[in-house]
Symmetry: C2
Subunit: 207 residues, 2 copies
């Protein structure tokens, strides 16, 4: 498995793609350590958008804490099923509570988004590990809030929600916490960015 490719043709494409990615962004990421570089390269490979080399910001302890959680086989928690569906090579469990009965109930009662309610349900159900948020700003804000109630359960956060309303602010809020994190500055981000970061970390954990 290289950059998500499992067949010969897929691997050939991935190898060529990595060369192109490196030619485009190597200057922008030379200040990063090798683990961080691998993550940013994979994000640019997955989005075909070199701008992510500049938008992606990784906290100092993010790679270390994320790899510890992954190597320990702890759960990965996602905000929506699309992100879960993209994290395909993890030996542990990838969970998403957006369709959980309790999630619908909390969202309705408190008039919050299901993606936010799903984070509460996950922590109630005993979640511990890395959180990967690719879509919902309200979900990310909820994680930051829950971190105070459940210290030590959220090991790291890939926080790359997308959108013109609230996404940039939610990522700024995450940046101001002590939670080990990866974010993208501004409105851009999304499920492929989230999935690329998670899959790059899973790959690093095996190497």
């Amino acid at each position: 498995m290289f950059m998500g490719a499992s067949t010969k043709e897929g691997q050939d494409i991935a190898v060529k793609s990595r060369e192109i990615v490196r030619s485009l962004i190597s200057e922008n990421i030379k200040h990063l350590n090798p683990g961080e570089q691998a993550i940013v390269e994979r994000i640019v490979h997955s989005t075909a958008d070199p701008e992510y080399a500049e938008l992606t910001k990784i906290s100092e302890n993010f790679v270390k804490e994320s790899l510890e959680a992954i190597k320990a086989g702890e759960d990965i928690l996602t905000d929506i099923n699309m992100v879960r569906a993209g994290i395909t090579s993890y030996n542990g469990e990838v969970k998403c509570y957006i369709d959980h009965t309790l999630t619908y109930q909390i969202a309705r009662e408190r008039e919050i988004t299901r993606a936010a309610a799903a984070m509460e349900v996950a922590l109630q159900e005993g979640f511990r590990g890395m959180v990967v948020i690719g879509n919902s700003p309200t979900s990310l804000l909820k994680v930051i809030e829950l971190q105070e109630k459940y210290p030590d359960r959220i090991k790291s956060v890939v926080g790359v929600p997308v959108g013109f309303v609230g996404a940039a602010e939610s990522k700024k809020a995450l940046q101001s916490t002590a939670i080990p994190h990866l974010i993208t500055v501004g409105p851009k981000g999304g499920t492929p960015v989230a999935v690329a970061a998670a899959n790059a970390l899973i790959n690093l954990s095996k190497g």
Copy 2:
């Protein structure tokens, strides 16, 4: 359900987002018909990337043919599970054959990608309807090839694979066919673009 939001907070965010999207791209999409505008607006809403207003190209018969397939309840076929996971409000079936036993077998025997092999399996299994490709150029090229073998089975194609190797060429190839299509010019595209186009069409079919 408005722009994918099912709760009050979600809907408030979607309404604000639509205003911002319109302020950013209304000039670029004023030549499109209302159905096409709705699709492009949703793509920009989902990606927070106004560039898609210019990159998205829709063939004349695409909306009509896609809506016919959707209203008839025909299957939607996706290249990867991430795309399937994002198409959440369709009353018909959304299918993906990438994990099918036959797909693994064909990919191995012919040294092609699983995403391409999965298209063959789908057509062998009787698929008929709209195809939504958000990731794999080889999958899109295979659909174009299969169209000749199975005329009238592929009603329309959302063809927005992403990547620096082969994606732009595969979309150009689709543009040169008579298949009703939506593409994004160049390397950019991806699962959120594919999902946004499909969900916008599903929404249009209900309105």
